[in-house]
Symmetry: C2
């Protein structure tokens, strides 16, 4: 059971074939960064067309059972998610509406402050709003949408854990204490406090090979990555660590500019250094297997490796995705 808890490549058959070659039972894909509700519905519509056109390779992952079925059928379940809460437009009813449309995971914020909370580029003392932020998490808990705090700042993460009645995910980030402050987007990584609190609530972090967050940055080796996985397992336990590569390819500078500054800025706050090259060893098809082999070499049992590979995500999805209209409160 292999699951990647975040990829954001330009979708197309080449990618979908890679997913199959890698043996991925599920990939969480991004359908919104700064988009509003209408723009996001259009993107979901484009994905529905892709699911139909490439039904030999893909299926939709609305629940953990869809992922189990996908694995059995030799297909990859696509789990739809947002990297920001902009599509909800501060309207609680839109949370249920997007759940109906298939969305199962949403970050409260991207890198900046919004009505719900604060991203990692803001001051550290700004957190979850006690108004919409608390209500949004309650609504997501209720309709069955997994709360993701991957890009939130420290205080928003901690307050989100407190506000959520269900476990919370960090789909793609790394431990700050391990990686250190030298990587380009070090501020995106998570403190030990955040990781431990997430784990206490039975949440899961997806560790990433994204060079701007990874140990040794662009020089991150397979060993560097596996060492980080082992270190994180030691810190918070093997039940709370998974993979969330943040892998992307196929996008140009225009998309990068959109991700970095949306429409809220006329210039980048963080230098835009071009589309990133992922480490050579992280071949989209083969890289996952090499990581899992590396973990076995570090003394992890098959059962432990299976948890990191995907079983932890499956447990979390079972606990948080509502697969029906609305879950009972």
């Amino acid at each position: 059971m292999l699951i990647d808890a975040l990829q954001f490549s330009k979708p197309g058959r080449e990618r979908f074939q890679e997913w199959r070659d890698a043996g991925l039972a599920a990939v969480h894909v991004t359908t919104a960064i700064w988009e509003d509700s209408t723009e996001t519905m259009r993107e979901l519509g484009r994905w529905q067309r892709l699911l139909t056109e490439h039904a030999d390779l893909l299926t939709e992952g609305r629940g953990a059972d869809d992922i189990r079925a996908a694995k059995a059928e030799g297909r990859t379940a696509v789990v739809f998610g947002f990297q920001n809460s902009t599509p909800f437009e501060d309207d609680l009813d839109l949370v249920g509406a997007f759940h109906q449309a298939g969305v199962r995971i949403a970050q409260l914020t991207y890198n900046t402050q919004n009505s719900a909370g604060a991203g990692c580029w803001e001051h550290e003392d700004t957190g979850l709003s006690r108004t919409y932020g608390v209500n949004l998490i309650r609504e997501m808990n209720q309709v069955g949408m997994l709360v993701d705090v991957s890009h939130c700042n420290e205080r928003t993460c901690l307050e989100a854990f407190e506000a959520s009645e269900k476990p919370v995910a960090i789909t793609h980030a790394n431990p700050r204490d391990y990686v250190g402050g030298d990587v380009e987007l070090a501020v995106r990584n998570k403190s030990a406090d955040v990781l431990k609190t997430m784990a206490q609530q039975d949440g899961v972090i997806g560790l990433s090979m994204y060079p701007r967050l990874a140990p040794n940055g662009t020089d991150c080796s397979l060993d560097d990555f596996c060492d980080m996985v082992a270190w994180t397992v030691d810190l918070i336990g093997v039940d709370h660590v998974g993979l969330g590569s943040d892998f992307y390819t196929g996008h140009g500078d225009e998309e990068l500019v959109w991700w970095r500054q949306g429409r809220w800025s006329r210039s980048p706050m963080v230098p835009i250094s071009g589309v990133v090259e992922f480490p050579g060893w992280f071949d989209a098809a083969k890289g996952y297997r090499d990581v899992l082999d590396g973990l076995r070499k570090r003394g992890m049992t098959d059962e432990e490796v299976a948890k990191v590979a995907g079983e932890n995500w499956l447990r979390l999805f079972d606990a948080t995705f509502g697969t029906f209209h609305k879950q009972a409160g």
Copy 2:
């Protein structure tokens, strides 16, 4: 020159006639609270229709000169504003677009946190976002839209003053130190620190008879109000005090619920105690004159009373409203 820097009554000829009877040269009206860009454009369209239908009483106030002309013609200039930045949808281009559509004043936030800053119902340590918040103020400065922090919390006010190159308004609020903590919405009132910093930058506060903010609350007398005006003039100087009644009438509970909780909550965070009764002495047509008489009785000169009545707002509008397509940076 009499200007009310905020009224939010249901618009109609009865109100417009009252404005004329009061001798109001300008009224700043609210066209958005939680509305998005499309909803706000529709509201502005409804107002354009009203301006046409009631052109004997009304004109549009896009610049201070429009207000001077309105006074000379015996009409009231309507100045369009927002009590929140939701219509901009975090898109800097929409600031200029709404300026083109006639909007000249906008609050950064209503009562809650958004991408730009935090309202008075949030934690006090959440402030202006260093991302969109700073950029939004720069854009408003540039296109000629007055920044209003009436509903912002302490830190957001102070950081907005710092970020703005032009004076900032508090169109409707009262001094917290004078009114005290017993009124229903005491948290909406402003600290001495905020008032002084605003004044140093040549901003203006509009003092309000709204019983939930006013001295002695629902029992606020004409004397109570005039004493507060005099106290505020003593604190920050006569150049920085004006009127901003926050007067409203004609709305029902449904509108109150919308103002208080938008779509971001399913229940009120602050009890909804019904549509407010303004003090009996604040008759919409005669109340302003009684206040100005009361100030004269407290020893203010005609020149000083004129400043409070409207000249201060006119100076601030001259300094901040762009009347052309775009002002030079």
